[in-house]
Symmetry: C2
Subunit: 319 residues, 2 copies
């Protein structure tokens, strides 16, 4: 029988997860006490995000390291979306007692790798038993004296821009769901998102008026900005770069239109932001639309080329 | 058919959970954006804690409001144990799609009631689907310019004191496990702990040298202080007040010795602290033991009346 997490024990696993973890300047207490302690330089931002086995990931589709990296990345993306610098995470991990010890160790390595990539310290966590694997990451960030970029700040005349991947993870999920394992680019995107770390703070510095990370899909997430800001957003479809792998997937199984992944696919955690038209968007960002004021009686929303986009597929629904 | 959380929908439930929530001074952004934003006055403390259905609670033993209150209380107790003022919580809730809508609403009311009691603002959360109910609460606190009280600061000559309940929840769990519903005092203690909110900061101000919240049991948690501080702790058994309800339970089902609940029962989230012997312990705290230096070759640990305490029961094991 392979060694399980029950064999390793709670305190043994925690020791393995935290062994040699180094705390950056500004963190005076790391894992091991009742709480971690850190010294912020400005306002603190906080967000929490869960991933549940067979709801958000499957062990047959994603390695344990992928799950660890994805859990950190999707939580830290929310910190980026406020314009804050990621400072740390706490990780609550629930595991079935028969989970292989190796799975847990590889998960821990994924967590630590993504923490390093994102700049967030592993501040602490919790370990418990559950019938399926569940990971809840709470991410913290430091605004370092600046005001946050909210969803509600978009103004008529602003441009809409993004940085990161759009619709790659959704295309990956589509092929995995149908039993395929390629194209590799989209499958890898489903397994591990690559949020554009550091770009949130750059967007804030560049004068972003509103920002959100794309977790529910481009239309749904820009819809949140439109609603909170009381504006209409129009996307320019020809500005949305379609990846070759997305075209391949759409041709094979997606009804032919790769835009469905880009417009409705979440989970890539690109950053979406609005900027004053007079401002140059930061290097690497792509302008994809415009913000306009609402007509009389018009509800806030998002259009594509001036018209509502229609498809049977919608954004991600949690229930 | 009763209305379920799937009928209510993710965004509907979130709106119900957060409707009318008021943010205290110092919280500039509450639920609804990518992150909440708050302005700390000093170092920030953070801890995360999960409760899983049929591992930490059963729906037949605890009402939904009890579960919500307990999840907040057990997380905020860790903030108290650093000597910090609770500032806020984020709550990740995982629910089966067929969970009754009423269960979720009552859970939300419990969360809000305990937030109010503890002084922690409900800063945000996450809602997702899962095969069983899971709640992960991340609690934040503000040290307001003071240094934290760690587990590692106990010094030979210090006294050990506590405030709160000891072993009441464990006695409650013992009777519930055997199919009973009384005595009410211990059953209620299992359902909803009552951490001594505000006492952590008072203990810090009174000069506490080490502190921990009692979640794994008196021996286990004082053992953490002993180990981190490199000392031996001796408890005075005659100082441990046994509740009448604990005597009743011990006589009926616990083998006759109610001390087993007090020494090994966690989940009440009393605060345990060490203070210099020259200091008066804060009002309401009870002195229960002493800290002494290790003899040569002696391992850090906890004794009762000078001897190791022996029982088949141990502290809470998560696997």
């Amino acid at each position: 029988m392979a060694r399980t997490v029950a064999d390793a024990g709670e305190f043994g696993l925690i020791a393995e997860f935290t062994h040699g973890v180094e705390m950056p300047v500004g963190v005076s207490v790391g894992p091991g006490d009742d709480c971690a302690v850190f010294t912020p330089r400005g306002d603190v931002v906080v967000s929490t995000d869960s991933m549940i086995e067979d709801v958000h990931f499957k062990r047959v589709w994603s390695g344990a390291g992928d799950v660890g990296r994805k859990a950190i990345a999707s939580a830290v993306a929310d910190v980026e979306a406020m314009g804050a610098r990621p400072t740390g995470v706490v990780v609550a991990l629930a595991l079935p007692a028969d989970t292989p010890h190796d799975w847990a160790l590889e998960f821990g390595r994924g967590v630590r790798a993504e923490c390093e990539t994102s700049g967030a310290a592993l501040l602490g966590g919790d370990l418990t038993k559950a019938p399926v694997i569940g990971v809840t990451v709470t991410a913290l960030g430091d605004l370092e004296g600046r005001p946050p970029v909210l969803r509600s700040g978009a103004r008529p005349g602003d441009v809409v821009a993004y940085i990161g991947r759009l619709g790659m993870a959704a295309a990956g999920l589509a092929v995995l769901t149908r039993g395929f394992r390629s194209p590799g680019a989209v499958v890898r995107a489903h397994r591990v998102p690559e949020p554009p770390y550091g770009q949130g703070a750059l967007a804030l510095a560049a004068g972003a008026t509103a920002m959100i990370d794309c977790s529910d899909g481009l239309l749904a997430d820009l819809g949140h900005i439109a609603e909170e800001s009381g504006v209409s957003i129009d996307l320019l479809a020809d500005r949305l770069d379609v990846d070759e792998a997305q075209k391949t997937v759409a041709a094979a199984i997606g009804g032919g239109d790769p835009l469905v992944y880009i417009l409705t696919g979440g989970d890539d955690h690109a950053l979406l932001a609005t900027f004053p038209a007079t401002t140059a968007v930061p290097e690497g960002w792509t302008t994809i639309g415009n913000v306009r004021s609402l007509d009389e009686g018009e509800a806030p929303g998002v259009t594509v080329g001036g018209s509502p986009w229609e498809s049977d597929a919608g954004g991600w629904r949690h229930f």
